[in-house]
Each structure stands twice: as structure tokens, then as C-alpha cells.
């Protein structure tokens, strides 16, 4: 009974703390971006104001199914993050993560708007871009660590990245896509809102858009946690290195976001697949040889 209670409390804590952290990260991200562009920028709590405002707005949906798909996408995102923080199997998390992305794309398809269709199609292209890399990462993790278990990383002698350096570079590509940052923000971007740029969300308003935002906060935390998985090891120093490296990498993501232009979806596909094939397989071959 006690085990059950503590597990329930842990799940509750993850579900409450993760979106708050995600929103804060998004707020700090917007502030740093603004500073890089020589602007003052919005308050750090701005993402929360945005979501609360969206919840207060009327929301008419073109097709009620859109909302179901979005809620399902959010639920699978939560499920994924809870599993990840409870130290479950990496493969299971990746499957939950992919399903949530597919539901998000279906939400785009459900509204019968050409812009939304383009967004949904591009969302699918993005999934094709990063899923092979993530699956290779999981296999690499298994080969390097000897288990798919996420909690296992806390008992290692050296961080997993030391055995998976090339796959880790591939992971950096994946998180750029997942954080929806330039040059890979092809399906839905934070910048300059225009129909094609806002893609999937073109026909969504009010609470639907709020769900999209909150879902994205979960995704942000998931991607950072995924990064952390490859940096942590069994010593207290591992935490310092892990958190420090995550902060630096996130800062570099913001820098790249502000310094590059959006590329065409074909180039995105090519760029990521070349990285997957060369770096991913080279790293796996290296691991199986030594």
C-alpha cells in the first residue's frame, strides 16, 4: 500500500512540476532570444499568461475531433514523461512519445484547412526525420549500458555519452527538431506567425491552442531529460556535469535558433538522414567491435 501511495505521489509530482518547469524554460528562452535580438523581451511568466488567456477565450473548433486528438496527444506526452522520470524502459518511452506526435499530426489533418494539412504533412516529415535517430539511440544505449532501463544510467561508472559520442551528436539534431527551433522548425514555429509557419495549429483556437502549448512544455522537458540521460553517471559529479551540459546545450540551441534560417523540408530530411546513417551506424559498429 505504501509503495502504491509513494508511486502515486511521484506521478502527481511529475504531472504538476513538469509543465511548470516547461513553461518557465519557454519564458526564459523567449527572454534570452529577445536579448540576443537587442530587445527587452516579455516577462518570464509570459507563456503562462498566454495559456491562461487562451483558456479564457471562446473556442469554436472546425471539427470536434481535433480536440480529442490534441487531448490524446497531451495524455501520451504526460505518460511518456511520467515513465521517463520513474525510470522505466527507454523503448516504451520512445513509443509513447512517437504516438503523441502522431496524434498531434492527426489533429492537424482533422480540420480540413489546406494550411493545416501542410503543417500536418510537415509534422509527419519531422517524425520521419527524428524517429530513426531516437531508435538507434535506444539500441546504442542498450549496447553501451547493457539495459534499456532509464534508472540504470544512475549506476554507471562513466556517462553513456563517452561510449556514444556520435549518437549524441545525432541527438542534438533530434532535440533541435523537437524543441521546434530553426533551422528545423518546419511544421510549427514560434517565430513570425503566418499560416504556413504556424502549420498544424492554423485552425485551432482558445483551449485547443492552450493544449498544444502545454503539450509542448512536456516535450521540452522530455527532450532535456533525454539529453541528461546520456550525461549522468553514478557519482555526485555526474549531476553537476549533466545539469551544466544541459544548460549549455540549451543555450546553444537558442543561439542556433536565432542565427539560422528555416530550411526546406527536403533539406531537413536529407540533413537528418545523412546524420542518422553516418553517425548512428558508425557509433553502433564501433560499439559492437569494442
Amino acid at each position: 500500500m505504501n509503495d502504491f501511495m509513494s508511486a502515486a505521489l511521484q506521478i502527481l509530482a511529475v504531472i504538476i512540476i513538469v509543465p511548470i518547469a516547461g513553461g518557465l524554460i519557454s519564458g526564459i528562452d523567449r527572454k534570452i532570444s529577445a536579448k540576443m535580438q537587442g530587445r527587452k523581451g516579455p516577462p518570464i511568466l509570459q507563456p503562462f499568461y498566454d495559456v491562461l488567456k487562451l483558456l479564457q477565450k471562446d473556442s469554436k473548433t472546425v471539427n470536434p475531433t481535433t480536440r480529442y486528438f490534441l487531448v490524446l496527444s497531451l495524455i501520451f506526452n504526460m505518460f511518456n514523461v511520467v515513465l521517463f522520470f520513474m525510470g522505466a524502459e527507454l523503448l516504451l518511452c520512445i513509443f509513447a512519445f512517437t504516438i503523441s506526435c502522431v496524434f498531434f499530426s492527426l489533429a492537424g489533418y482533422s480540420s480540413r484547412s489546406p494550411y493545416s494539412f501542410i503543417g500536418a504533412e510537415r509534422e509527419l516529415v519531422q517524425i520521419i526525420c527524428y524517429v530513426p535517430m531516437i531508435i538507434l539511440l535506444a539500441f546504442g544505449y542498450y549496447q553501451a549500458v547493457g539495459s534499456f532501463s532509464i534508472s540504470y544510467a544512475f549506476q554507471l561508472d562513466a556517462p553513456a555519452v563517452t561510449r556514444l559520442p556520435l549518437l549524441f551528436i545525432g541527438l542534438l539534431y533530434v532535440i533541435t527538431i523537437k524543441l521546434r527551433k530553426s533551422p528545423f522548425d518546419i511544421s510549427m514555429s514560434h517565430h513570425a506567425h503566418q499560416e504556413i509557419v504556424r502549420g498544424v495549429t492554423t485552425e485551432m483556437e482558445g483551449s485547443c491552442l492552450a493544449i498544444v502549448e502545454v503539450s509542448h512544455w512536456f516535450e521540452t522537458v522530455f527532450t532535456i531529460r533525454l539529453l541528461f540521460l546520456f550525461l549522468i553517471y553514478g557519482q555526485p559529479l555526474g549531476w553537476v556535469i549533466g545539469i551544466g551540459a544541459c544548460l549549455i546545450i540549451y543555450f546553444l540551441e537558442i543561439l542556433v535558433d536565432n542565427a539560422t534560417a528555416r530550411i526546406k523540408y527536403r533539406s531537413a530530411l536529407r540533413a537528418t538522414w545523412i546524420v542518422v546513417l553516418v553517425l548512428g551506424f558508425a557509433n553502433l559498429a564501433f560499439l559492437s567491435l569494442f
Binding site: R39, P42, Q46, K53, D58, A192, E195, R198, E205
Partner: protein, 134 residues
């Protein structure tokens, strides 16, 4: 508490402006004025927007678009007429195809004067109109 005051998302439509007012609206986004510090975002989508900024007078061609954009926005929403043309018809009031100011087509909540309206005045207009929302 109405959070729309903290994050008014803006949709800008050029009904038949000479581009003078448009450029001033876009100037609000530049580092000098930086409206994002007030939580404002320039959206390109009526479904995401809370504030409709219209520059230029309404003519026989643009009237249907203005009405449609207004109808596509969800409540609560406000409309601001930016510049002399949008307020009254301005310099082109007597043209054969001009219907008049934006208020001829849809209800307007705030008029920003000027030809062209200054960025400070536009930002002030948005901030003031939000106080009207109950």
C-alpha cells in the same frame, strides 16, 4: 482576472492603406519599440488573435475581407482603427470605391489618430483598448 490584458495577440489587416500606417505598425515590433515586452505577438491568423488592427479605409473590395476576419476571431475581441483613413476615410474619403472608415463595416473599439499613426500612439491604443474589456 482577464489574462487578455497580459497577452494581447494582434492581427493586422491592410484594408486599403497607403502602407504608411502599415510600416508604423511593423515598426512596433522592432527592438526600438518591442511590443513583445507587453506580451503582444503579431499573429497572421484571425483564430489566434485578440486584437484586430486595421489600417486604411474600407473599400468595396476589402469590406468583405474585413467582415470575414472579424467573424473568424473568437470572443473576447477588440478592433482598433489605425490612422486617419481607418478612422474616417481620411484622404481617400471621396474616392468612388471607398465606403469610409472601418466603423462602416464592423464595430470599432478604439481610434488611433495620425497620418501616419505613430508607433507610440498605436501601442497606447492597444493598451487603452484592453482596459475597456470587462
Amino acid at each position: 482576472m482577464k489574462f487578455i490584458k497580459k497577452s494581447p495577440w494582434i492581427l493586422h489587416y491592410n484594408a486599403s492603406s497607403c502602407n504608411g500606417c502599415d510600416i508604423e505598425i511593423l515598426a512596433c515590433l522592432t527592438p526600438l519599440y518591442d511590443v513583445e515586452r507587453l506580451g503582444m505577438i503579431h499573429t497572421g491568423n484571425p483564430k489566434h488573435a485578440d486584437v484586430l488592427l486595421i489600417s486604411g479605409c474600407v473599400n468595396t473590395q476589402s469590406v468583405s475581407v474585413v467582415k470575414q476576419l472579424y467573424e473568424q476571431m473568437s470572443e473576447p475581441k477588440v478592433v482598433i482603427a489605425v490612422g486617419a483613413c481607418a478612422s474616417t476615410g481620411g484622404i481617400s474619403k471621396d474616392c468612388y470605391n471607398v465606403i469610409g472608415g472601418v466603423s462602416e463595416a464592423i464595430p470599432v473599439d478604439m481610434y488611433v489618430p495620425g497620418c501616419a499613426a505613430r508607433p507610440e500612439a498605436i501601442i497606447d491604443g492597444v493598451v487603452k483598448v484592453l482596459d475597456k474589456i470587462k
